[in-house]
């Protein structure tokens, strides 16, 4: 068992290290800052995809509403940045200086109570994690205790996504409405729009993503990871082995929500705005597609899936804007029908055996150098 375990462990680490090398060395060396910033934006979606691997792949719980948590994380960050950008000097032409511009346009004369904590960065950062976690906890307890699962759970998460996006659009004075929160400039006086800031934020995102994947790998290796798989396959056996299934499902739902929120916060920082178009049903489904393409059982695969689909999206939507949606739908259906384990599955069943065969063949062909010269292939 130990040898097998160690091999799995080693390959897990190699995959993560390779990904980190690609993201932290190869891409920054070969892309200009505009493209790199774009990759950084995609990587912020990858946080959600990684969360979906835990929730959907491991936990067997399909959420079609992860945009909600991505959005909440993003909005919490955006609220802090917006308040910093709305200092009394730069908003002196408003009828109420010192509050965000969209509030002024909506005849608000005072900062709403809800916004007040977001004047402080530590509180805002705490909110990035706690607000989505709390919502996921309440929804999780309410649904999992009642044994809502499968398609019904997916529909409920869709409903939440719809409700939140309608709420944000409707409460224009408090949320910036359909435009979202825009014109974000500085973080504690540091201009986040500059090239150097884009570089730093990109590397921060990569580092954070690496840490998040590492943490998720640790969860997968723990007894909790085994239990998630066990629950996915034989829920009743787990329940009648003395485990409260609902509490484990709630945990993994909260975990996925927090990861999505981290992604949302990094998105806001790198892109410089947050809007309801990242909260609703369609973006939530897109996030599931990224995970499915990458492979819902593979944390690292989910990142590649996210990058690849977004690359395709950027390329195709530039060239054939009308066709893109159909293409993405076809991609999703194709992947689910033909490669249920996504890119990671293709790698595990085709590429790796081929690589191993080649390596063994090379070893057989060139066993030991005979005359001091290494045997050439």
């Amino acid at each position: 068992m130990n040898a097998c375990f160690e091999r799995a462990f080693a390959s897990r680490h190699t995959a993560l290290i390779l990904l980190m090398v690609l993201l932290a060395v190869v891409l920054p060396a070969s892309l200009d800052i505009f493209r790199l910033n774009l990759v950084g934006k995609y990587l912020s979606y990858a946080f959600v995809a990684v969360g979906l691997v835990m929730l959907w792949g491991y936990g067997g719980i399909l959420s079609l509403g992860q945009g909600v948590y991505f959005g909440l994380g993003g909005y919490c960050m955006a609220m802090f940045l917006k308040l910093e950008a709305s200092d009394p000097v730069s908003t002196r032409i408003q009828s109420t200086p010192g509050i965000p511009d969209f509030m002024d346009w909506n005849q608000l004369t005072e900062l709403p109570l809800l916004w007040k904590p977001f004047r402080h960065l530590p509180l805002a950062m705490l909110a990035v994690i706690l607000v989505p976690a709390l919502l996921a906890f309440v929804l999780g307890v309410a649904m999992f205790k009642r044994r809502v699962s499968g398609v019904y759970f997916a529909i409920m998460t869709q409903a939440v996504a719809l409700i939140l996006s309608v709420l944000i659009i409707g409460q224009q004075g408090y949320t910036g409405g359909v435009n979202g929160i825009t014109d974000l400039k500085t973080l504690l006086g540091w201009d986040i729009r500059s090239d150097s800031a884009h570089y730093i934020l990109y590397f921060t995102t990569v580092l954070l993503l690496g840490l998040v994947i590492h943490a998720c790998q640790w969860v997968q290796q723990s007894k909790l990871g085994t239990l998630l798989l066990a629950m996915r396959d034989k829920e009743d056996r787990v329940r009648f082995s003395g485990y409260d299934v609902a509490s484990f499902r709630t945990f993994v739902f909260c975990l996925a929500a927090i990861l999505a929120a981290l992604g949302g916060a990094m998105f806001t920082l790198q892109v410089g705005f947050m809007s309801p178009s990242f909260v609703g049903i369609v973006p939530s489904i897109e996030l599931v597609i990224f995970t499915a393409v990458g492979g819902r059982m593979s944390l690292v695969g989910a990142v590649y899936g996210t990058l690849l689909v977004n690359l395709g999206k950027t390329y195709f939507s530039e060239s054939f804007p009308d066709l893109w949606l159909f293409l993405m739908a076809a991609l999703f259906i194709g992947v689910v029908m033909a490669f249920p384990d996504g890119l990671a599955g293709i790698y595990a069943t085709s590429v790796r055996p081929w690589l191993l065969r080649r390596r063994t063949a090379a070893l057989v062909a060139a066993p030991v150098p005979q005359d001091g010269n290494p045997a050439s292939p």
Binding site: M1, S222, D233, G242, D244, S247
Partner: protein, 247 residues
């Protein structure tokens, strides 16, 4: 209701599904260390009775007391933690995990979310897994994927998963269904061994097997108890012959 010396006391239990009474006014008492077999024709309510005891189905009326503690309103996982283990009719194991993992996951520690995150497979756990694997004859298959086991081995593995928790009452629903003659024999020996320090309720149809393992037999018919007693007495009961054994 008064306290009793019984390990399990089921009294006046009734359950109805949309008006159909699957079990009606049933009483059942199980002693410490007793191996009770429940027999009866299909639809008699045998599996439903086990479902009621382990909390999978909720009773419409009546009480179930385990060590004088009322169980009818308890959550399933709390009933398990109180000491009642249940094996399902079709082997219910984690096919994607190894035999070792199947047993390890059933070890009764780290049952909360944080506990599971902090759980480490210590020597104590490993030793327990080995001891149980030995008991169920799967020592050589610990690293095998559980899905690759034969049907009989899967049944044993599920019994092993329950043994990991060391329950005081073990309930088995048709443990030898689909087993070969040799496997049946091994299972009978296994049950006799593991019954030494716990009570068991077994549902079974195979009368030879029942005669071999049972301390006491309960015959159910249409949601009620038809007869109860030692195998020989039950076998001779004309009502039992009428509805179940046949002439």
């Amino acid at each position: 209701m008064s306290n009793t010396d019984y390990l399990l006391a089921v009294e006046d239990i009734t359950v109805s599904f949309d008006g159909f009474k699957a079990i009606e006014g049933l009483n059942l008492y199980v002693d410490q260390g007793e191996l009770r077999v429940i027999i009866g024709p299909n639809g008699a309510g045998k599996t439903t009775l086990l479902d009621l005891i382990c909390g999978k189905t909720r009773a419409s009326a009546g009480t179930i007391r385990f060590k004088n503690q009322e169980m009818t309103r308890m959550a399933e996982h709390d009933i398990v933690r109180a000491g009642i283990g249940r094996k399902f009719q079709t082997p219910s194991i984690y096919e994607n995990l190894s035999v070792f993992k199947n047993l390890e996951v059933s070890f009764p520690r780290g049952r909360s979310v944080l506990g599971a995150l902090a759980f480490r497979c210590t020597d104590e756990v490993r030793e327990r897994v080995r001891a149980v694997a030995d008991e169920i004859g799967l020592t050589g298959s610990l690293e095998l994927g559980a899905g690759l086991l034969s049907h009989g081995q899967k049944q044993w593995l599920e019994i092993g998963m329950l043994l990991m928790q060391d329950p005081e009452l073990l309930m088995l629903d048709e443990p030898i269904a689909g087993m070969s003659a040799r496997e049946r024999e091994l299972t009978a020996e296994l049950l006799a061994r593991i019954c030494r320090n716990r009570a068991m309720i077994v549902i079974e149809h195979d009368m030879d097997f029942v005669a071999r393992i049972a301390h006491k037999v309960t015959v159910m018919h249409q949601g009620k108890i038809l007869a109860e007693g030692p195998m020989d007495a039950v076998k001779a009961d004309p009502r039992v012959i009428d509805v179940y054994l046949g002439h």
